[in-house]
Symmetry: C2
Subunit: 417 residues, 2 copies
């Protein structure tokens, strides 16, 4: 069972915004055994949309369309739908009452014609009622293909996918099984890992595929099994993961696809009833932000200080000004004093500190661009390590964040009973 | 002159990673007058790649291909290239020496066969030398279409686009002009703006298109003019922006496409020689992170405190515990004490503080999920405003960040001479 995901909007084609909707939809339908055949971004042009629909007709079972449903864009997408399905627009009573309530009741404005037009839908379509916004989704079948149109606003699209579309597909379609297992590794590059596991990879059964997903400092290995018999797939995955773990046991740090390192750290800290604090210079708050992106972070995250200016390292983190003079602000010594300072200030069990030069210019530090010191404090010790993460700025910041979590996780794991 | 951007990789089609490469390429080529006709994500499958190449042949002048060039994926993309172009792989001397130097010289490892294979390229291709990684780019023409293959690692891809491909296209192709102008507005919704500017929009010349780009709390209006005569395009854009500014003067906050609000704030603070500090609770460091994502932020950003736990608000920000007891931790009073605390602690001219309940659970605060207080301190005053940003968590955080910048910018603008 195959789907194609189509995004409509010139703003994507000129690179003004990144399309994250397609990725969300692909992940959601993959979990219920629907394979995304292609993703496609096209312009707001009527003929372009019509050509795309024709090309996809009877090639895939489902076509997801996002974008082109806002109040100012309604006309083209809905009219194109009417053209393609030989249909006309009619006002949907439920949608109209919902739009009216949102505009008049919540936003406290008189309803306008443009608002009212949001309730117009093709007469043959099945309306996907959008509780969290004004533009409804639409579900329309032609021969062997269903076209599903969704608003482009991410949280509205997500609401409809999660609450309306996924349950509907599960009810109405028979689907094969797709199982994934992701193995997270740290510290070795893609080609080195590939050499170590070459024999194992060559012996994988036909219905199991391996993918390498490298990102700064880590490589995820993803196994995908696809077929009709869930047990056979699960067994093949489980057996091969055991075999793999024997070969690269030294670099495996986790197993679950959705389990990012910040989630793993959060779980470990919660289990151990321990807390964490952060002192950031070159990472500018990103470590704190990633930690607090996890629901429930308030159970273990005490807080953080972004000591961007040198004198705030002294005033807020109690770093000794002589240490800065002697070793410079980008140094192991300063990183260690920062991590001790934050651990004391926040009264936490663990702490992370970063100081470095992310570029693009050298700033007040003498260190080369890309030089970063990461310090970790545990209940028992304090240490700092030096890294050079090269350029550009965004890469240095991302690699520092990843490496800091990696160092911290190792320390926390030492204390697991 | 048209291009299609193709991304190869199953990891995109199952939604495991979001494709940001296509957006980067689209933006880069748009600036030199190359129009992106479509973006396409396809699987690592040889036949799928070959079919895609055939479909695009002679339909567009340029096909950009990213992904499928890592050390473990080399075989399929390069062999598919050889199939499509009826070519064979040969070792490129320059690339080999570069790979050897990187692996042996920098990574201090013996070179392996897999590393060596990275230097294999189709004999007829023009090699795009990749200084920042091991996989070279490739430029191959067939009839009226050039196929450009690039590594999927974002900073390697960016290096080649910026330093090799864009200069090459400028040298070798005659292109039309594409001009954009983006008008940033705050505080009114898409449909309300559309009604206000309807007459103006209907009077735009044929070669000028308008797009609405809504995001939480703000709408960007983008004008695009396309044609052979740069002066005519520029004049049409300039005249229409002046006319537009007369109609919606009250909500326009800026004009440049790349000028995000954090960049504008940074420029204003630098001009005025003023500084900024942040105290964040529900936004968890995101405001600091966005501020420090701007190069040169060290000129005006003093630092921030992420006071996630309630008692750190007391110990780090000097919030009075009685205030918390009396008004609760999510309140205007606490937000104001936080902003005063951080301004004093960091010795800054301006400060932002946030406290709220981003969900998904209610936590220790009594406030409803989505309730946020934002406080702003200026050299002259302190105030706090209450908002409800609904759900889910990510939307609450993003809207809080945007709204905080909007409030701050207004205050800074009051002090512009």
């Amino acid at each position: 069972m195959k789907a194609t995901i189509v995004t409509i909007g010139d703003e994507i084609l000129i690179g003004q915004i990144v399309d994250t909707n397609s990725s969300y939809i692909a992940k959601a339908i993959d979990k219920i055994g629907v394979q995304t055949h292609e993703m496609l971004s096209i312009s707001d042009d009527k003929q372009h949309i019509l050509n795309t629909f024709s090309n996809l007709q009877n090639k895939v079972e489902l076509v997801f369309i996002t974008g082109g449903l806002g109040p100012t864009k309604d006309d083209i997408t809905k009219k194109t739908f009417c053209d393609y399905f030989d249909d006309t627009l009619v006002e949907n009573e439920d949608v109209f009452l919902h739009v009216k309530e949102l505009i008049e009741g919540i936003y406290k404005r008189p309803i306008s014609q443009m608002n009212r037009d949001q309730a117009l839908v093709p007469s043959k379509c099945e309306v996907l009622f959008n509780k969290v916004g004004t533009a409804p989704g639409m579900w329309m079948r032609k021969e062997n293909t269903v076209f599903i149109s969704l608003p482009g606003v991410p949280y509205e699209m997500k609401y409809l996918v999660e609450n309306v579309i996924i349950p509907k597909i599960i009810r109405e379609y028979k689907r094969p099984f797709i199982l994934h297992k992701t193995i997270m590794t740290y510290g070795q590059g893609e080609s080195l890992i590939a050499e170590r596991i070459e024999d194992w990879e060559n012996n994988l059964p036909d219905f199991v595929r391996l993918a390498y997903l490298p990102s700064p400092g880590r490589v995820r290995l993803r196994l995908t099994a696809r077929g009709e018999n869930r047990e056979i797939l699960q067994k093949a995955i489980d057996n091969n993961v055991v075999l793999l773990a024997k070969i690269i046991n030294d670099i495996i740090v986790g197993f679950d696809e959705d389990e990012t390192i910040e989630v793993v750290i959060g779980r470990l800290l919660t289990q151990q009833n321990k807390t964490l604090a952060t002192a950031e210079s070159c990472t500018g708050g990103k470590i704190a932000q990633v930690i607090t992106s996890v629901s429930g972070a308030s159970n273990y995250f005490r807080g953080g200080i972004v000591s961007y200016a040198t004198d705030t390292k002294i005033s807020q983190l109690n770093v000794n000004s002589d240490t800065i003079k002697k070793y410079s602000v980008v140094s192991a010594e300063v990183a260690k004093e920062m991590v001790i300072g934050i651990k004391n200030a926040m009264n936490s069990d663990y702490a992370i500190a970063t100081t470095g030069n992310a570029g693009p210019s050298k700033g007040e530090a003498e260190a080369a661009i890309g030089t970063v010191f990461i310090a970790i404090a545990t209940p028992d010790e304090v240490f700092a390590e030096e890294f050079n993460f090269g350029q550009p700025r965004e890469k240095v910041i991302d690699r520092t964040v990843n490496k800091a979590f990696e160092l911290l996780q190792k320390e926390i794991l030492k204390n697991v009973q």
